[in-house]
């Protein structure tokens, strides 16, 4: 189990203040091979959509059953960072989820990058001692939280070792 919180300055290109579409992330070998975006109302009943989309993408990427199980749980916990926070704006807000498949360096594994973003106040963020956040760190290869211009983002990276992306 580990966690890693990046300073807010990291990767300033990613989060845009005004909700305009974020430019597809670039891997070492170029732009995303495939980007799926899902926006849901900030409603606990709708997180099932995020789990389901994650699982379908995982199936397409050839993940094992165990990896699918972990990915479904990871995206659920990422949504929970917002939806479980007493400081979160509530039903008027939306959660923006992105699933980006990035190529690796020549021969190296590609990655699946999942981000979940929503407008947040200055106090909202993951609790490092929270069991959900700790599990999330154990489920993925890289985990970061960032806020910028009022937008909070959980970012997960899953290495796609030994698969054709």
């Amino acid at each position: 189990m580990y966690q890693e919180i990046q300073p807010e300055s990291a990767d300033p290109e990613r989060a845009k203040p005004d909700g305009e579409p974020v430019a597809p992330e670039r891997g070492p070998n170029g732009p995303a091979l495939s980007t799926v975006a899902l926006t849901i109302p900030a409603d606990r009943d709708q997180v099932v959509l995020v789990r389901s989309v994650a699982a379908h993408i995982g199936v397409r990427l050839g993940l094992t059953v165990e990896e699918l199980t972990d990915l479904r749980l990871a995206v659920d916990e990422a949504c929970g960072v917002f939806l479980l926070s007493p400081d979160f704006g509530g039903l008027g807000e939306a959660l923006d989820c992105r699933f980006e498949e990035l190529p690796g360096d020549d021969g190296a594994a590609g990655t699946l990058v999942v981000t979940v973003s929503a407008p947040v106040g200055p106090t909202l963020g993951p609790d490092e001692d929270d069991i959900g956040w700790i599990m999330l760190g154990a489920l993925v290869d890289e985990l970061t939280w960032r806020t910028e211009n009022g937008l909070g983002t959980v970012r997960l990276v899953k290495l796609l070792a030994g698969r054709e992306v």
């Binding site: 606990r44 009943d45 479904r72 749980l73 069991i131």
Partner: protein
């Protein structure tokens, strides 16, 4: 067709089986607690039958841990049956072995 359902039944005096079907996620956790809480009284044995519980997240886990804590404070017993791999995975990740009394099936959870 509901993604989550919970139902409770009495199996002998003070022995309750609460059956959970489907996904115990952040949308369902509160409903489970409302079902569980009134049953956890002194001397009660409460078994959560998760034989058909297919998903658990940290919200659901928190309810299970809360039930276990309430039980130990109330001299009641709370036991869990949760064989599905996605649920086992969460128990393993969270390291709950010492906090949750987990049994292989409802039969053995009700006994002893």
């Amino acid at each position: 067709m509901d993604r989550f359902s919970v139902s409770a039944g009495e199996s002998g005096t003070g022995r309750f089986v609460v059956s959970v079907r489907g996904e115990l996620d952040l949308a369902a956790a509160e409903r489970l607690w409302m079902e569980l809480e009134p049953l956890i009284v002194p001397e009660a044995v409460v078994v959560l039958d998760g034989t058909e519980m297919t998903f658990l997240d940290s919200s659901g886990l928190r309810v299970l841990l809360q039930a276990a804590k309430r039980a130990s404070a109330s001299k009641a017993v709370f036991r869990l049956v949760a064989p599905q791999p996605p649920v086992q995975r969460v128990l393993e990740l969270a390291g709950t072995a010492g906090f949750l009394d987990t049994r292989d099936d409802v039969q053995s959870a009700l006994a002893g």
